[in-house]
């Protein structure tokens, strides 16, 4: 661990941050809540809760249509989130950012508009062995429809992608490479800049699933040169049902619309409809306005603390957790990549993850158990499921100690 990261971590006031998250101040089954499931959904600070409430109490109206004051306020607040997302992702223009329901919809939007138009029989889509189902199934559906082929970048037993194997998968038929920035099941941080560069060299595009990266790492879509990058609001302390898809202007302009309806049109007659400009062309219907405004507050909240500070603190916290869990006999960490964020996924000899999850819950500790929507990852490691503790900036070393004590309790019951 570097001295610099230690210094930053030392100056990180986690107790002050915890004050911002009301949900954390409660007991579960008589024990203080230890929330270690932020990779599933992150908790929300007052700033986000208040922004959503304020919208409903004070500004509520539909956007992009009314001339009245409330509609103008709502539109301004919603569109301000697009500007905040631009700064968060460092895209060139806010018109490269499309509001979606979340990462899943972001990927589906690309696969069904860009994909349907550009992927032909015999073409190939490359994904990786550690993808979430949401970055597998949309491409599988596209491949089935187009008679295209899905290729998979393999990984090693630490849970790191094998780039030399990836190189071999790239051919003139490769159209798209779609890879997670950070794996939800393993915590691996993939070398996405290099992955994108290799895709481009082969003449393919690259989509990065940023759902698990956004709460933990600085993202710069221009530096990555990603063609598409997508994230979910609820993983970055915002509400559910809202997210962002970034796409390069040139690509978005050439893509057909996603869904038809209001707001995505310029003129409609029964003979012919002309479409609105990007990004509105992809945003049919009244969107999740409150969600968009809430996500804007979440961007502000993260920026107020500083993503570099968050990353440094979490780096130390993850190292502490890795060390603590590694000391437990019979416990095996699944996913031990050298570059990792947030995730401590593990199995225990002779004890099923669901039993671990139930016993931990009784001690107030919330973890995720199961396949984490990444069944191929489970198959690769030869386990039916894992227990996953995932960390966020509001977690503490004391909570990791509570997890360790909880696991001891699990062992007492089942050994």
């Amino acid at each position: 661990m570097s001295t610099i990261s230690n210094q930053i971590a030392a100056s990180f006031d986690v107790e002050k941050i915890r004050e911002d998250f009301p949900v954390l101040k409660q007991n579960i089954h008589g024990k203080p809540l230890v929330y270690l499931d932020s990779a599933a959904t992150a908790q929300k600070p007052f700033a986000v809760i208040d922004a959503i409430r304020r919208f409903h109490e004070v500004d509520c109206a539909n956007i992009h249509r009314g001339v009245h004051e409330l509609s103008q306020r709502s539109t301004a607040a919603y569109e301000e989130t697009r500007a905040k997302a631009r700064r968060f992702l460092n895209s060139k223009s806010k018109n490269e950012l499309i509001f979606v329901r979340g990462t899943t919809e972001g990927i589906n939007l690309v696969s069904s508009t860009w994909g349907r138009k550009n992927v032909k029989a015999g073409d190939e889509i490359v994904i990786s062995a550690m993808e979430h189902h949401s970055n597998i199934v949309p491409w599988q559906m596209l491949c089935e429809e187009k008679d295209a082929r899905l290729r998979v970048i393999p990984m090693n037993d630490r849970g790191e992608l094998l780039l030399e194997e990836y190189e071999k998968l790239l051919t003139p038929r490769t159209r798209m490479v779609a890879v997670a920035h950070v794996s939800n099941a393993l915590g691996t941080i993939n070398p996405v800049k290099q992955i994108v560069e290799m895709a481009h060299r082969a003449g393919a595009l690259a989509l990065i699933d940023g759902a698990q990266a956004a709460p933990h790492l600085k993202i710069d879509v221009q530096a990555l040169d990603a063609d598409f990058y997508t994230l979910s609001g609820h993983k970055i302390f915002g509400p559910t049902g809202i997210g962002i898809l970034y796409g390069k202007s040139k690509l978005l302009n050439a893509m057909p619309p996603y869904q038809g309806g209001g707001d995505m049109i310029r003129t409609v007659s029964f003979e012919k409809t002309t479409y609105n400009d990007v990004p509105y062309k992809f945003e049919a219907g009244t969107p999740n306005i409150a969600g968009g405004i809430g996500m804007g507050a979440a961007f502000d909240y993260i920026n107020g603390i500083g993503i570099d500070q968050i990353a440094a603190y979490e780096h130390d916290l993850l190292a502490y957790g890795t060390e603590a869990l590694s000391q437990i006999p019979g416990l095996r960490l699944i996913g031990t990549a050298r570059e990792k964020a947030s995730v401590l996924s593990f199995v225990m000899e002779g004890i099923h993850p669901h039993d671990i999850g139930t016993v931990l819950d009784k001690q107030g500790i919330a973890v995720r158990t199961g396949h984490h929507c990444a069944q191929p990852v489970m198959d690769w490691f030869g386990v039916p499921a894992t227990t996953r503790a995932s960390l966020a900036m509001y977690n503490t070393t004391a909570e990791i100690d509570a997890l360790v004590a909880g696991i001891q309790k699990v062992k007492e019951i089942f050994s």
């Binding site: 004890i351 669901h354 139930t358 009784k362």
Partner: protein, 145 residues
């Protein structure tokens, strides 16, 4: 307390499951799968006419699903198809309703604690869904989803 769920008899059957082996001369087989937890189970039945002469299972699962399969096999031997299906209904009621009749359930009443853990009901019912599939001889993979 977590011991309401993990009663001694459940822990015992999960660590030392009874009738846990394949059966070569089975007359009916079925597979069960719980996609939520990845639990898989194969059930073997030897029927003589309408009567369950022997029953066994193999599979991997949590303590609740393993113990449930183990205790189920113990309680099925000698029962007719109709009796087995009636027991299944009673067992399901025990897990899901307040006013379940506990008579005739025997040792299976130890699963009453599962009712307070809705996420775990599927674990306890996997073996029973698989039984239903074997008795109906559909041959399809039963899921407890």
């Amino acid at each position: 307390m977590v011991h309401d769920l993990y009663q001694e008899i459940i822990l015992d059957h999960s660590k030392r499951p009874r009738n846990c082996h394949p059966m070569e001369d089975a007359t009916r087989k079925a597979e069960g799968y719980n996609p939520l937890c990845g639990d898989k189970l194969k059930l073997f039945l030897k029927m003589e006419g309408d009567v369950v002469k022997d029953v066994s299972f193999v599979g991997s699962g949590c303590a609740i699903s393993t113990a449930s399969a183990s205790l189920m096999t113990e309680s099925l031997k000698g029962k007719t198809r109709e009796e087995a299906l009636a027991l299944l209904e009673k067992f399901h009621e025990l897990l899901t309703t307040d006013a379940a009749v506990r008579e005739d359930l025997g040792k299976l009443v130890v699963f009453c604690g599962v009712r307070d853990y809705p996420a775990r009901v599927k674990c306890a019912t996997l073996a029973w869904h698989t039984l239903k599939s074997a008795l109906n001889n559909g041959g399809e993979v039963a899921t407890s989803e």
